[in-house]
């Protein structure tokens, strides 16, 4: 088990390096000058030079990237060019929102998607049609549009749920949940369909395997065959899919946080892009990448737990 964790983390380091370097260089080539953003249009050349030096922009690119890497090791992601606050503080204040969204979505979509897929694999017919329709619609509707439609119905029409904004769980757990319902619904819509279809395929595939026949013929109880044997074997491909949808989910947060005005990392990234706030963008990418790495690690562990062949290798 520790071997897998160690191996995975070791493999992840180059990924972290690659992703941050790519963003670093791409962003640094973008037109727009952070010094100008800070000073506005009216400034003297001296002021301009002073700000650039303060920001470290006079240094060569590689040196700046090296410095940035060195700082990470000390838990320092620099300061925002826009408002001089430490990036770590800004990100930490917002990461909770994104994590709530992401975890909530994962929970909801996995429970509903796997449940639907399982049910439709065993009952086929009508349920299978529902699963197909749900997954088709979930994929076909643009997420920002779905968000607006849901807001129009549930917030403006029925006044059941807040249209926008986020409530801290410390302030009011109930309102926190209510503020998450629509965003989570929008994010889950495409994933539920994908998971349901994958689950159905996986379960149908397992149902065809000879060992199910062996167990049935041997007199194993139908409940045990379903919950012990079929689910566990079907879970192996499903876990992989859950891991893959996760990255797409992070992309989704960017749009959903913007539509619902949630103070999370995704919305921050959009803002920072328009302000050329390099340290913030890098910070967001860094956080996202770490989240992805942790998820991949969890997927690997789940995979190893489910599949004894991997454990041995």
């Amino acid at each position: 088990m520790f071997k897998i964790i160690g191996y995975r983390l070791l493999v992840s380091l180059p990924l972290l390096f690659f992703v941050t370097a790519l963003t670093f260089f791409l962003v640094s080539f973008t037109p727009g000058d952070p010094a100008v953003v800070i000073l506005g249009q009216n400034h003297t050349p001296e002021e301009y030079q002073r700000v650039r030096e303060q920001l470290g922009l006079t240094q060569p690119l590689l040196v700046r990237y090296g410095d940035w890497l060195g700082d990470i090791v000390q838990g320092n992601l620099g300061t925002s060019i826009f408002n001089q606050e430490p990036v770590v503080a800004i990100l930490n204040s917002r990461v909770g929102v994104t994590l709530s969204l992401v975890l909530g979505t994962t929970l909801v979509s996995t429970l509903v998607g796997v449940g639907l897929g399982l049910a439709s694999a065993l009952r086929r017919g009508f349920l299978a049609t529902i699963v197909d329709t749900v997954s088709l619609l979930g994929f076909a509707l643009p997420n920002f549009w779905l968000a607006l439609v849901l807001v129009a119905i549930f917030s403006i029409g029925l006044h059941w749920l807040p249209a926008i904004g986020y409530v801290d769980p410390a302030t009011s757990p109930g309102d926190w949940l209510r503020s998450l319902v629509l965003p989570v619904l929008v994010l889950s819509a495409p994933i539920i369909g994908v998971l349901a279809q994958q689950t159905r395929n996986a379960v149908l595939e397992v149902l065809d395997r000879p060992f199910i026949q062996t167990l049935r013929a041997g007199g194993a109880s139908p409940a045990s065959i379903l919950f012990r044997h079929i689910l566990r074997n079907a879970a192996i491909p499903i876990v992989t899919v859950v891991g893959l949808t996760f990255v797409g989910l992070l992309s989704g947060t960017v749009i959903v946080e913007t539509v619902f005005a949630l103070p999370g990392l995704g919305g921050l990234a959009v803002q920072a892009t328009s302000r050329h706030d390099l340290p913030i963008i890098q910070g967001v990418v860094f956080y996202f990448t770490v989240i992805v790495i942790v998820v991949n690690l969890l997927v690997d562990l789940a995979y190893a737990w489910l599949n004894p062949r991997v454990r041995v290798a």
Binding site: P14, L136, F139, R216, G218, N233, V254, A269, P308
Partner: protein, 651 residues
């Protein structure tokens, strides 16, 4: 001239002509209504946006302030926006930019992903590993963040961002292409082409690309759908379009500001996007189905006939009453496979008995229906197959009449099963102890040390060395022979009275087969259980069976004691099979063969199903139903010329 030289089966034509079905894919596609509707919709959208200046009712920027926010009216079919601009007109004018964006995305993916996927799948090695690492990295980055970065580099440039989008999803598609290529690289037909001197480039172009293109075309519909979402989302975020432009995304964004007062404005642009994406996906699905069908359609060249009128029951035995001494008596069993279009009979009125302690062989070539017969008895038929008639008596009790719950109680305790693939007949995710223990716990209601003791006893009974270690092993740690022993132990856990063994040694080496057959005999001596053995191997039958039922085309053709059958088969089919066996032939001399091939279910000829291949066939053989008749000494045979052939010593 004897019938022993090459006499291949009939080659069936697909149509009247002999032209190759070159556009099979397109043909099958056109036959699908869904493909026609969705494809037509997409075509209309594209043509309409190309012809926007000709067909649009207004100018995209023409203001009609008095009618601002009008819902759908005769004047504005889809309503008008906050400045009274016609929504339909703006949708028509906005289409082209969207379509160009989607096209850019798809082309980028196809140009990048297909070569990369094929190369990394076909070449393997370092190239593949580097590609795989890059793919991992790119798949780990939320794509939109990078596109945001690209967009600040090229502000408002939708072309660059769609190409960027294409580049970002290419690795995922390339991985799928690679997945298709990988098995092809190892395929025998690629090896054969190489051995025939075909160059690598030609192999990639002819053998790999043809297979990969199908996958790529299908993936393209999903790429198109994603690209459409993406290009609209960019417009919505105001990254590639400014508020005044007739852009689908911007129209949603403007509608969002009016959401409290005029929600209708949301409907036309969003609905259009959703419908277009739906059409793309459904079109892709139809494409996938028809390309999967290409092979099936080709294979379906032989028409699958609907089930004809039920064949009359052979008046051989009383179909209702079981033989008094039989443990298992199967009477007139019929099984039908059904899919959406056809019903195909695969087992047709099979009757046989198994007496206590007896080993009975169900012998036949593939397609004879022997395995399906066995599974029907165990109520383990695959989803598409259905028992359509007959009874299965166990000690006089009709099992077909039992409900599922009652039947479940017989599983393991009365009827056991050992199947063909030893390794895949064990659950790979549980240890042997866990799955064997599960059955023991259920049958014996024991736990703890007693449970373990019984498990060890079972493993000892199947003569596994070091049973304690085997209990802790996972199936993949066992050899084929060991796994088959474990499978037998699982079948024995409930002490069944009848063991059904479905080709139990076919996947094993001969030396292991010998051991497993010896084990069957030993266990049978100890427990007195009866064995129903399904096999295609005459050697196995000769080794272990007391009685044999030779099956052909869903029917029993001969029923005889094992010694009698081998000494003198009383049916032309059994005789032909025995003679075709190289084990008894003179080396180097041509074998006496049965010409032609086993007819597939649904293509059974009328009358005697063996008649087209039978050296003794006469016209009368094909005109009427051939019953299974008594031949004396308790033997049965399905042949109307039997008496005559025996007399002439042809049989």
């Amino acid at each position: 001239m004897s019938n022993d030289v090459i006499t291949p089966g009939p080659v069936v034509t697909t149509g009247p002509g002999t032209r190759p079905p070159r556009w099979l894919l397109l043909k099958t596609l056109v036959r699908k209504p869904l493909a026609l509707v969705t494809g037509g919709f997409l075509l209309v959208i594209i043509l309409a946006s190309l012809a926007a200046p000709l067909i649009a009712p207004y100018q995209p920027t023409a203001l009609d302030l008095p009618n601002a926010f009008s819902g759908p009216t005769a004047k504005h079919l889809l309503g008008a926006d906050e400045l009274g601009r016609d929504v339909l007109t703006r949708l028509l004018y906005g289409g082209l930019q969207i379509e160009i964006g989607v096209l850019e995305g798809i082309l980028t993916v196809l140009v990048v992903a297909i070569p990369l996927g094929i190369l990394s799948g076909y070449l393997g090695g370092i190239f593949d590993r580097v590609m795989s690492a890059i793919t991992d990295a790119i798949l780990a980055i939320p794509a939109i963040i990078l596109v945001l970065v690209i967009l600040s580099l090229f502000p408002n440039n939708s072309h660059v961002s769609m190409i960027g989008f294409g580049l970002l999803i290419s690795p995922g598609i390339a991985r799928i292409i690679r997945g298709v290529t990988l098995p092809l690289r190892e395929a025998d037909f690629v090896a054969a082409a190489r051995i025939s001197g075909v160059s690598e480039l030609q192999i990639m172009a002819r053998h790999i690309l043809t297979a990969v293109l199908r996958t790529a075309i299908i993936q393209a519909s999903f790429v198109a759908a994603s690209a459409l979402h993406f290009v609209v989302a960019l417009g919505y975020l105001g990254l590639t379009a400014s508020p005044g432009q007739p852009d689908w995304g911007q129209m949603v964004a403007v509608a969002a500001t009016q959401i409290t007062s005029h929600p209708w404005l949301l409907v036309p642009p969003g609905g259009l996007v959703a419908l277009t994406v739906l059409a793309l996906i459904l079109f892709g699905n139809a494409l996938r189905d028809s390309s999967a069908n290409v092979n099936q359609v080709a294979a379906m060249a032989e028409p699958v006939l609907p089930v004809g009128p039920p064949t009359p029951v052979a008046p051989v035995k009383d179909a209702q009453l079981p033989a008094p001494d039989a443990l298992l008596a199967v009477r007139d069993l019929s099984v039908v496979f059904s899919n959406r279009k056809n019903q195909t009979r695969i087992v047709d009125g099979v009757s046989f008995d198994v007496r206590p302690g007896e080993t009975v062989g169900l012998m036949g070539e593939s397609g004879a229906g022997k395995s399906i017969t066995a599974l029907a008895i165990l109520r383990l038929l695959p989803g598409a197959a259905r028992l359509t008639g007959g009874q299965v008596f166990f000690e006089g009790r009709d099992l077909v009449a039992l409900n599922d719950r009652e039947f479940d109680r017989l599983r393991g305790t009365t009827l056991g099963l050992v199947s063909q693939e030893p390794l895949s007949s064990l659950d790979p995710t549980f240890t042997v102890g866990s799955q064997l223990g599960e059955l023991v716990r259920r049958h014996d209601r024991v736990s703890g040390p007693k449970l373990k003791a019984r498990c060890l006893e079972l493993l000892n009974q199947v003569q596994l060395p070091d049973p304690a270690r085997v209990l802790k092993s996972y199936p993949h740690e066992l050899s084929g022979g060991m796994a088959q022993r474990v499978a037998l132990a699982m079948a024995l856990a409930g002490r069944p009275r009848l063991l059904v063994a479905d080709e139990p040694t076919t996947a094993l080496d001969v030396t292991v087969q010998k051991e497993i057959l010896a084990l069957f005999r030993k266990v049978q001596q100890e427990t007195g259980m009866a064995i129903l053995l399904v096999t295609h191997n005459f050697g196995v039958v000769a080794d272990i069976c007391d009685r044999v039922f030779v099956m052909y085309a869903g029917q029993v053709f001969e029923d005889a004691g094992v010694y009698e059958l081998f000494r003198r088969p009383l049916n032309p089919y059994s005789q032909g099979l025995l003679r075709a066996n190289p084990a008894k032939a003179q080396p180097g001399q041509p074998l006496q063969v049965i010409p032609g091939r086993v007819p597939s279910p649904g293509n059974w000829p009328p009358g005697c199903r063996f008649a087209p291949r039978c050296p003794y066939a006469q016209p009368e053989c094909t005109t009427r139903f051939i019953p299974l008749v008594e031949t004396g000494q308790g033997r049965l045979s399905r042949c109307i010329r039997l008496g005559e052939l025996v007399e002439k010593e042809l049989l």
